[in-house]
Amino acid sequence: MTLEFMQNYWWLLASVLGGLLVFLLFVQGGQSMLLSSRDNATRELIVNSMGRKWELTFTTLVVFGGAMFASFPLFYSTSFGGAYWLWMLILFSFILQAVSYEYRNKKGNIYGTRTYDIFLFINGCVGCILLGVAVSMFFFGAHFTVSKGNLLDSASPVISTWAPTHGFEAIFNWKNLILGVAILFLARTQACLYMMNYICDDARFFDDLKRRTLINGGIFVVFFLWFMTMLLTATGYDVLTLNFVIVRVEDEPFKYFHSYLSQWFSLAVLLLGVAGVLYGIGRSAFGRHYTRGIWWSGIGTILVVCSLFWVAGYGDTAFYPSLDDPMSSLTINNSSSSYFTLQVMTYVSLLIPFVAAYIWYVWRSMDIDKLTSAQLEKTDHKY
């Protein structure tokens, strides 16, 4: 195994984790609909269906962070230490989520159920939008510089420095927000699809979910197309990296369009993914009683996110372009861990199929029976 192979392999794993994370954000999508649910019974069903999966989303986020730290530490140190407010706000929103399910209905929770539902709503909206902003910077760049020589400056030894607004400039960049909003509405759409599949309750609720699928799915498509148009017409960096060092950077108009044309597999995966998402949404919204849309849409989402990661990371470009100093941009070559560490991590990654298998097996056993209001009343552990 060469260093280049392992860098590509770990970028592939990061893309799959990223795809899974965006798919699992359906939990956040469901939370964003809590405050507008039509009655208490509906709200309880939404909370208890989403609440059984929140830890999977949460864990995937943590593992994504850990995997990026281990495989691309320069990205970890530059992005997290630089876009400080962006990441901090994401983290705050996830803190609110982690306790809200468990505490919302418990006696003695002090602040009342409504407060915890508002916390879940905040995480649902803020979490999705800001994660979208974070991913968008992979294409539209950020204001940072990397100077490793700073390490020897006792007075100011930090190697990665960022714009003084520390991430606020990224949050209020409309290009980044487009993807953020697209992800929010994708998550809301998938929450509807998930509940159509998992909750077996009255027909009125099902029809309501179909209506919501159509509305949220429609908004998602508009914003996603807007993002893709910006992406395919954007000027990106054509980068040459050797032995962890960028030796040349040039602007290239329509960079990502060219990348898709030259990476047939990324284009094929993108088209397959988009088709899957649209099929899942369309058939669920217009079909009579179709409940399997979450599978089409979910797999489609993972494929689309993977393809976006691939054009960001593969093909002589920077996955984290620096707008202040192009030579400081991050590529999968100059930001990765050493050969030895990637090798160790590669051996560890062999466990991933086993992890995926037991997760699949457990949730298949747990989800055999669909959730109903009546069943919810009998359950030992109700959120």
Partner: protein, 514 residues
């Protein structure tokens, strides 16, 4: 205060809050698994009720532990970005493995624990409960391996071309410090959870509610907790020996010892003299009660061994096993050699820029010779390399004194519980057990204070001081997020304690006896 101080405070705040919940998760998960095992073996509904009661409390605690843990992982990037680059090649791997191996296990099987009672078989459910407990411990393993590595950095070398450390031996991460630290932390969780179970159950006895349930729970809590406490003490002893070998300055700070000697005693109780510094003649203590030979035995398992103090270490004085005075590298020399290492790295960088292979080779050789002192190059005075003595000294005593008290409490409770009539009549003992509960957390947190304050000023021992490990964010920014964290964690802690109390009260009014 500078951005370094606020970043430290923020990390300390997050870690302290996180550690309020983690040890209870570690210990209670094992006790719940034991109770459920008894239920599955005997079919007893009483054990099923006990399992569910403690599982509810486990769930309330687990959620907030997850929330605070998330922040810790990401704070390495947000507040310690230089650290993340400098040693990310080594430190990141255990964190990623923790996620892949442990977090998914915990999060998947904890869902079965809570929602699987009527969805999976009894044995599957029991397996899930045990796997949740095991997952929690595996999670602790990897983060503690990472933490231990910061105290004793091994298995890596510095790559001047990339200006970072790179791993060259993964298995070296499992050093003696890591092994002791892991078992010490996990078993202290058992000990803490045992006191929690005994305290809550004693309240049931005081209130004369569900007495059978209370006695049953105390037996599980006391046996598991005692085992945990004994192992905590054993591994604590191992940790002291490892600290003596690899972080002698931390040991000296724990003891407030400036001038060491052979047959060195240990201060059982005392007040350190704040006016004392490494180079003045003030007394070390304002008051002290010393146990003869104690520190020599603790540090080297030899009553006649020499244990160096802060001044000895700074001056580079040590005494070997034969009693001969030897000179080690003093701190003034370490600072000088650290600066030479910096200079060599600068030269390497310049030579690299002009493709001067000979210059690079020469600079690399000089850097290699002085690299063990690289971190000292950031200091201008030896005073900067001394940890806060007072906090380390007092935290160590709080931990040891409370730990000894809890060992005694475990023994009294265990003897008493098998003389049931006496135990049930002994309201004083039940009250002591109840009132002791918060002190167990004080004991546990004090242990971490010793470990983390005592290793200052280093994030990575000898290689990267805390002040060079930070991110380039403003002080105002970190102050803002510090208070945001302080506010939200406090609000959530208040809610957690309130919910716990209500759940305990609610449970006490149900029939849990049969």
């Amino acid at each position: 205060m500078t951005v370094v101080d606020w970043s430290r405070w923020q990390f300390a705040l997050t870690a302290i809050y996180h550690w309020l919940f983690v040890p209870l998760t570690l210990g209670l998960s094992v006790m719940v698994a034991i109770m459920e095992s008894i239920y599955v073996r005997t079919g007893s509904q009483a054990w099923l009720k006990a399992t569910k009661f403690w599982m509810t409390l486990f769930g309330i605690n687990f959620a907030i532990g997850v929330a605070t843990g998330l922040i810790l992982e990401f704070e390495f990037g947000t507040n310690w970005s230089n650290y993340s680059w400098f040693v990310g090649d080594i430190f990141g791997a255990p964190l990623a493995i923790e996620g892949i191996v442990a977090f998914f296990m915990e999060s998947t099987f904890v869902a079965v624990m809570f929602f699987g009672w009527h969805r999976v078989s009894r044995r599957f459910h029991l397996a899930a409960t045990w796997l949740t407990a095991i997952g929690a411990s595996i999670s602790a393993l990897w983060i503690l391996v990472a933490n231990a590595w910061m105290q004793y950095p091994v298995g890596m070398e510095f790559d001047p071309a990339q200006m970072r450390n790179v791993m060259d031996n993964f298995w070296a991460l499992f050093s003696g410090i890591a092994v002791n630290k892991f078992f010490h932390a996990v078993f202290s969780g058992w000990a803490l959870a045992g006191i929690f179970v005994i305290g809550v159950s004693s309240w049931f006895l005081i209130k004369n509610r569900n007495r059978e349930f209370a006695i049953r729970s105390i037996k599980v809590g006391a046996w598991t907790g005692l085992a945990g406490m004994l192992m905590t003490m054993y591994t604590g002893d191992g940790s002291a020996v490892e600290v003596t070998k690899h972080q002698p300055m931390k040991l000296a700070a724990m003891e407030g010892l400036y001038k060491g000697s052979t047959q060195q005693g240990i201060v059982a109780m005392g007040l350190v003299n704040p006016a004392k510094s490494w180079n003045n003649d003030e007394d070390e203590y304002l008051f002290d009660i010393e146990l003869p030979y104690g520190l020599s035995i603790l540090a080297k398992h030899d009553p006649n061994a020499f244990v160096p103090g802060i001044t000895d270490i700074i001056e580079g004085v040590d005494i070997n096993a034969n009693g001969d005075t030897i000179n080690t590298v003093g701190y003034a020399e370490r600072i000088a050699r650290g600066k030479m290492a910096h200079e060599a790295l600068r030269d390497f960088d310049k030579a690299k820029a002009v493709h001067d292979d000979e210059g690079m080779a020469d600079a690399k050789a000089r850097l290699k010779a002085d690299y063990p002192y690289f971190g000292y190059g950031y200091f201008d005075s030896v005073d900067e390399a001394i940890p806060p003595v007072g906090v380390t000294f007092y935290s160590f005593r709080v931990m040891v004194i409370l730990g000894s008290f809890f060992l005694l409490l475990y023994i009294v409770v265990l003897v008493g519980i098998y003389r049931r009539q006496w135990f049930e009549k002994s309201k004083w003992l039940q009250w002591i057990a109840l009132v002791s509960v918060p002190f167990m957390w004080v004991c546990s947190e004090a242990g971490w204070m010793v470990a983390e304050v005592g290793r200052q000023p280093w994030t990575v021992q000898d290689l990267l001081p805390t002040r060079a490990a930070i991110s380039a964010v403003s002080t105002t920014t970190v102050i803002t997020t510090f208070w945001m964290f302080a506010g939200i964690f406090t609000l959530l802690l208040v809610a957690e304690v309130s919910i716990m109390i209500r759940q305990i009260e609610k449970g006490s009014k149900k029939d849990l006896n049969s």
